[in-house]
Symmetry: C2
Subunit: 418 residues, 2 copies
């Protein structure tokens, strides 16, 4: 047995079996060529949940569903009273999503359990696979709503009331697809939470390193801004009397993009994600628009400066467009998210397995960000080709992915047996 | 009898009766306070059409409906074989529309006919009231589609296939509301076409002049631009690899607004009317956006220069956003639209009636622009308060409107009896 491993390094997952689950998942909610459009609580999401639950029951796991549709598949431990070690991610995708984002983490957790079953390896603490509802936010805002509710950030009623552009609410859709469970949301201790996820950036792939040890997150500030103007005719109405809310929102989109470019040399990002305007029609100026965007940087001080730049731009855009602008909602992720001991455990486990690693920051939001508020948490990144994600061309190779899953297996065992 | 009038100036409309029809119309498709939301081919549009047709039948008119839903209410002339003198406008409104835009023109025409009926005044040529389908374009693009089809600009099949954001087509909705008529669209001679319309600008109201003699139109260039980028994650994806179509469209919106301001001193306008992006969601960059906008100027050479400025801006925005941009559709209105003899007739009639007039340009598009392609055409503008339109605060006073209707009455009579 190698130093630092609770089990022999020869204990390894069945890569072929794991890949079959990835390929089966890729048949459910097919989107553009090679990709998926399996948005949260759609018929395709239901089908994927059904398939996953069947796999879990075949693996002898007890599946529970909580009141926001989060799934937990539990493998008993020798000491049932101890809090579980949880491994998870999400099965929903963006509308032009890939086959790997989130899915790899859930199916890696399933493969970990199947591997333990093969060898009849028990653990002191229970293991659980978690599938969080609506991580992507592609249909319902905000993203990561299931894990956030588990962590106590939102109430169940608030989550149920979130409404999609198509008019449906999360509560209605959970009921419709049969995943409005009875288990309470959160409020129970977890020993720890591991989330394996594709990097969604180019570093691991470019360097040929299979495992990213996620040390921290980029600091992010997100905004939803309401813009109020006035309708008028697009023809005769003079420029100096116009209060076109669409122009105000467009100015914000250009401004946040400019802020991203200003900090590009140090890896900063500024994103215009969404503009919704009303009436947004030929012939009439819009009197309402909503802008959604964010700024991110690895250095919290720079991220804060970018936020200040956005707020200054907002005042300037309001003046130039002659519209009223107000921040309707603002969100924030700090840098220090993960548990130092858990991060070290991932790094040390990889070293003991002889798996090369790279310490890396997470630039995207993840369910782990919320679960870290209620349990010691670590993330493991695996490579994705050229960093392409939220795109049907997203690709992760089996060989580059397997080392990370074996790190997950051994790290989870170490945590479960300690 | 005054010089230049075919009938005594004492022949005048019944202002009270006219205003009752305006007030009845304002009960159908009520929108924001004081305004209307009677978009084309909605249930409210059907109700208004039903009411209008009943009024016409009560006035002894023969109503026909053509295959794109245009209504024609005909009052026989002494020589039935002669082409009719047509008076018309539209009854649909913007989603935040007023009570007067278009409606005043149709109901003024009805009042002209009722006035002739009261006095048992016959005419040599037939008179027709025309109601054109979907002038506003608030539900279906393009605007003025009914009058354009009448003028041979679009085929019936093409018009029927126009689809609203709500998924319905013009053909389906015409059938649903019972206004898919059997009469051929256009292809018959009109003696002439008069359209009375609120000015939709501030000049008449500000100067206290009741009648605008519309000499010409602002030259306008409109564009629908397709923007193609690539989806990616809003977090990790580097700025220099981003091809965010929403940013590209926002840059176009800001650019067209800037062009409007550049020519503001000489009355130029640049409008960002609509941005539609996909997926337009938090967490993902949009790979498609469509921008709709236009530039307008009284001087055709300046309008052409503004168009060139927009095309240069398009190339610049494509470069800066790293997106592909292509003009999907472009429209254009020239300045010389109206018939010189018809315009003179309106001016001379007003003078003979002692009604002050102002020669004025039209800055908005009107059904008259299309009908002018197939018949000698003139427009009469009446005042609207502060020029506010496409807004529930649009207001036209009865006393300021009546002189224009009497000019319409006498000008139409002159034309019908010549």
């Amino acid at each position: 047995m190698q130093q630092g491993l609770a089990r022999p390094a020869a204990l390894a997952i069945d890569a072929t079996r794991f890949w079959r689950t990835i390929e089966r998942s890729a048949e459910i909610g097919v989107g553009r060529p090679g990709g998926l459009a399996r948005v949260a609580l759609s018929d395709a999401d239901r089908q994927m949940r059904d398939e996953f639950c069947a796999w879990c029951r075949d693996a002898g796991l007890a599946v529970t569903v909580d009141a926001v549709g989060n799934l937990f598949a539990r493998r008993a431990g020798r000491e049932p009273g101890l809090p579980p070690v949880v491994l998870g991610s999400h099965l929903d995708t963006q509308i032009n999503g890939g086959r790997y984002d989130g899915i790899v983490g859930v199916l890696a957790a399933l493969e970990v359990v199947r591997t333990l079953n093969d060898r009849a390896i028990g653990t002191r603490r229970p293991l659980e696979i978690a599938v969080w509802t609506n991580e992507e936010g592609a249909r319902f805002s905000p993203p990561m709503v299931g894990s956030a509710a588990f962590a106590g950030v939102h109430t169940v009623d608030w989550v149920h009331a979130r409404r999609a552009d198509d008019g449906a609410t999360i509560g209605d859709e959970l009921r419709r697809i049969g995943y409005l469970g009875e288990a309470p949301v959160g409020g129970r201790p977890l020993d720890s939470y591991f989330e394996l996820h594709i990097e969604q950036g180019p570093e691991l792939h470019a360097r040929g390193v299979p495992v990213g040890v996620v040390t921290h997150g980029y600091t992010a500030h997100g905004f939803i801004v309401d813009v109020h103007g006035e309708t008028a005719h697009t023809g005769p109405w003079p420029m100096d009397r116009r209060r076109n809310a669409l122009v105000g929102a467009a100015m914000l989109a250009v401004a946040v993009n400019d802020i991203g470019w200003k900090h590009h040399a140090t890896g900063g990002k500024g994103t215009a994600a969404r503009i919704h305007a009303w009436p947004n029609k030929p012939g009439i100026l819009s009197d309402y628009a909503q802008f959604t965007g964010d700024v991110r940087h690895d250095d919290p001080a720079v991220a804060d400066a970018m936020r200040a730049e956005f707020m200054a731009a907002l005042a300037d855009c309001a003046r130039r467009s002659q519209c009223e602008m107000a921040v309707f909602d603002e969100w924030h992720w700090g840098a220090d998210i993960f548990d130092a001991a858990m991060v070290s455990l991932v790094r040390d486990t990889a070293r003991a397995l002889g798996v090369p690693t790279l310490d890396i920051a997470s630039q995207a939001g993840h369910d782990a960000y919320h679960i870290a508020k209620v349990a010691p948490t670590a993330m493991i990144f695996t490579p994705c080709r050229d960093g392409i994600t939220h795109n049907n061309r997203e690709h992760a190779g089996l060989e580059e992915t397997v080392p990370g899953i074996n790190v997950l297996l051994h790290a989870a065992l170490a945590r479960a047996d300690r």
